[in-house]
Symmetry: C2
Subunit: 402 residues, 2 copies
C-alpha cells in the first residue's frame, strides 16, 4: 500500500478529558488579554501587592543558595520550618504541634492536597461563594460534585445565611470548602458562625477545609492579630484542614510556599500525596519561610496597617462616584463593589481596560453569585489608587453622558 492508498481521515485533535475541559478558565486573564496592546494599564486585577518581597526574606533564600541548600527535603517540609510554624500558629490559635503541620508548594497546592486526601469521584462538596475559583474547581478535577451556597449582599455588605449553609451540608456530604477572610468579597466569618458550622460538621462527619490565607489581613478588631479561625475552636485531630500561605502576610506570592494544619493521623497519607504532587517545596524557599515566620512580625503589622489605610482610602474615593455602591469589609485586600454596567461584569472590565486603562477583575470570575460586582485589589500605593479612581470616574462620566 502506497502512502496515497492510506485511508483519509480527519486529523485527530488531542483533547483533555471532559472534566478538565469543563473547568473554568480565568476570566481575569480574559480581561487581561483584552487589554493586550494597551500601553498604560493600571493593574488592580490580581490578588497581589505591588511590593517586592521584604529584603530579609530574599536574603535568607540567597544565603541558603550560597551555602548549597539545593537538595530534596522531607515531603512534609524541613523540621526547622515546621517547628517555626508550630510556634507561629500556636501563638495565634493555641497549641499546634509541628506534627500537625505540613509545608506545601503554595497555598493552592495545600488546597489540592487537602482535596486529594478526602474527596474522590462522586463525592459531594459544598463551597460558599462568591469565591476564588480554585476552591470550587479543585474537587471537580478529582471527580467530585460541588454545590455552592451564596453569601447575601445587604446593607452591611456580604453576609452568610447560616441556615442555608447548614441545610446544604446534608448528611453524606464529604467536605465543606470555606474561605474567610474571603476572596473576593472581604467577608469575614464570625466566631459564632464558625462554631455553628463546626458543630454541624462534627455531627455529620463532614470534613472542613478552611482556606485562611488572608487571616492576618484583618481589620475588624484593631487588637486582634488575626481573623477568627477554625483553629481557635477545633481540636487538632478532628476533620479539619486549615490551609495557609506565605503569599499575603509576607508578600511572597511568587515563591509558592504554603502550609496546612491537619490531623496527625493524616500525615503519613499526606506525605505520600506530597511525594506524588511536588515531592517537597524548594529547599532554599523553605529557609526563606523560616525567616518570614521568625522575623516577619513587625513587617506584617506595618503591612496590615498600610492595607487598612489603603482600604479606607479607596472606599472613600469610590463612594464619591455616582452609582458606585461600596462597603469596606473587614478582611483580605479587595473591594468588591457594584457600579453602573457591572450587570455584565466581564464586558465592563474588558471595556475598562481597553478604554480607560483600568485593570479590574469581573465579579463573574468568582461564580455567578459575583455578577454585578467588580473586584479591586487595593494592595498598592494610595497615589496609584487615586490614579485608578480618576480613570474610573472619567469612564463613568463618559458613559453616563452617552
Amino acid at each position: 500500500m502506497s502512502d496515497l492508498d492510506l485511508p483519509l481521515s480527519a486529523p485527530v485533535i488531542p483533547n483533555a478529558r471532559d472534566a478538565v475541559r469543563a473547568l473554568r478558565a480565568s476570566q481575569i486573564r480574559e480581561v487581561a488579554n483584552a487589554g493586550f496592546g494597551v500601553a498604560d494599564v493600571l493593574p488592580f486585577w490580581f490578588g497581589e501587592s505591588d511590593r517586592v518581597t521584604p529584603q530579609f526574606i530574599r536574603d535568607a533564600a540567597a544565603a541558603a543558595l550560597a551555602r548549597g541548600d539545593t537538595f530534596y527535603t522531607h515531603n512534609l517540609g524541613i523540621a526547622p520550618l515546621r517547628d517555626a510554624l508550630s510556634r507561629y500558629v500556636s501563638a495565634l490559635h493555641g497549641d499546634t504541634p509541628a506534627a500537625n503541620i505540613a509545608v506545601t508548594s503554595a497555598g493552592v497546592n495545600a488546597l489540592m492536597l487537602a482535596a486529594q486526601l478526602v474527596v474522590g469521584a462522586g463525592d459531594r462538596v459544598v463551597a460558599v461563594t462568591p469565591l476564588w475559583p480554585n476552591l470550587v474547581e479543585i474537587p471537580k478535577i478529582l471527580g467530585a460534585s460541588v454545590e455552592t451556597v451564596a453569601l447575601g449582599y445587604g446593607a452591611n455588605g456580604w453576609a452568610l445565611d447560616l441556615d442555608r449553609l447548614l441545610a446544604a451540608l446534608t448528611p453524606g456530604t464529604k467536605l465543606l470548602m470555606i474561605n474567610s477572610p474571603n476572596n473576593p468579597t472581604g467577608w469575614v466569618m464570625t466566631r459564632a458562625e464558625q462554631q455553628a458550622v463546626l458543630d454541624h460538621c462534627r455531627r455529620h462527619g463532614i470534613w472542613i477545609v478552611a482556606d485562611e490565607v488572608y487571616e492576618r489581613l484583618y481589620y475588624g478588631d484593631t487588637d486582634a492579630r488575626t481573623a477568627p479561625s477554625f483553629l481557635d475552636l477545633a481540636s487538632r485531630d478532628e476533620r479539619l484542614i486549615c490551609v495557609n500561605s506565605f503569599s499575603k502576610a509576607w508578600l511572597m506570592t511568587g515563591w509558592r510556599l504554603g502550609w496546612m494544619v491537619a490531623p496527625r493521623d493524616l500525615m503519613d497519607d499526606l506525605g505520600k500525596l506530597v511525594e506524588y504532587n511536588t515531592s517537597c517545596a524548594p529547599a532554599f524557599v523553605q529557609q526563606a519561610g523560616i525567616a518570614a515566620v521568625e522575623q516577619g512580625e513587625p513587617y506584617t503589622r506595618r503591612l496590615v496597617a498600610d492595607l487598612r489605610a489603603s482600604r479606607d482610602h479607596l472606599a472613600a474615593a469610590l463612594s464619591a462616584l455616582p452609582g458606585v455602591d461600596v462597603k469596606a469589609p473587614h478582611g483580605a485586600m479587595y473591594l468588591f463593589f457594584s457600579l453602573p454596567g457591572a450587570q455584565k461584569s466581564l464586558d465592563l472590565c474588558k471595556a475598562l481596560v481597553r478604554e480607560a486603562g483600568l485593570g479590574l477583575a469581573p465579579g463573574s470570575a468568582f461564580g455567578p453569585e459575583g455578577e454585578g460586582f467588580v473586584r479591586w485589589c487595593y494592595a498598592c500605593d494610595p497615589a496609584r489608587l487615586d490614579q485608578g479612581v480618576e480613570r474610573l470616574a472619567s469612564y463613568l462620566r463618559q458613559h453616563a453622558a452617552r
Copy 2:
C-alpha cells in the same frame, strides 16, 4: 445533662479516603528510618547526586531575588524560559515551538498534571515496571486502575518484552506511562521499540506519557547527547506528553522545576490545571532554569562523563564480590543488581544500614517485579563508592561465614 451523662463513644480517628490510604509509602524511607541513630551511614538510596547545584545556576536565582523577581508568573511559565526550552528541546529532538512547552513545579508535578489532563475515575492505565513508584501511584489518586508490564531480566540485563506490552495496551486503554532511561533499572528503550509502541498507541488512540527526565544520562552511544526519545518520532500535536526535569542534567533536585512537551491544543486546559495545582513555579527558580538551559551544556557534558566513569567503577567493584550479579545499563544513574539475601530486599536493606552503615534502596520499592534486587545510586565521588563497596563486601563476608 452533665459531662458525665454524655454518651460514650470511641474517639473518631480522621482518615484519608481509601484510595489514598492504599497508595504505597516509600520503602526507601522505611529503610532510612531503620538506620535512624546509626552514626555513619553512606547514603546511596536516593536518586540524587551528592553535588551542590552549579554556581552559575544558583547565582542566576540570587540575582533574580536581588532585583525583586518575586511575583506570580504565567501559569505555563515565563516566556524567556519557554523560549529557551524550545531551543534546547528543538536542538535535541527536532522543532518544538514554545507553544508546545509548559514549565512545571518539578518533573513529578508534570507527571501529576499529565495524568490529570487525561485520566479520571475508572480509566485504565498501563505502566512498565520496575519503576519509580510515582508513575504507578499518581493515576490511582485520580481513581484510575493501573496494570503493570514487567521488564525481563536476562543475560543482557533488563529488557522489554514488546509483544507483552502491546498485548497489555488493549483498545480502550487510556494511557501508557513509560520511563526511559528507567529508574531503577537503567534500562533504555530502543528507537525501534518506541516506534512500535507509538504506532500501536496511535492505532488505538492511547495516550503516552513518557518520563524522559534521565534522557541526558545516557551512555549507550558516546556521540549521542541524549537517549532515544518519543519526541524524535512523534509529531508535536498527537497524544504524547513528554515529561522532563531540571533535577538530573543540572543537579537541581531541590529546586522542583520541570517541564513538559505536549500538544498545543492541550495548553489552555493545562494552564487551568497548573493554576489549580501550584499556579506557577517560583519566579526566580524559573530564572535559574534559563541559566541552566542556556549556559549549562558544558557542565552537563562533564557530569555525564563523570557519571559514566562512576558507573563503570562501581560495576567493576561490585562484580568482584561473590554472589553479586551486576550489569551496567546504558542510562540513568543507578545500578540495580542482585546479591545474596536480596530475595527479601527490604529486610536486606534494613540490615545493611543497621549493620554496615550502607544505605541502598530495596528493589521491592519499585514494585514486586523489582524484588531480588537493590538499587545503588552512583552519582557521587568514586572514593565514596569504594567505601560503600568495602562495607558491602564486609557484610557479605560476615553473613557467608554464619
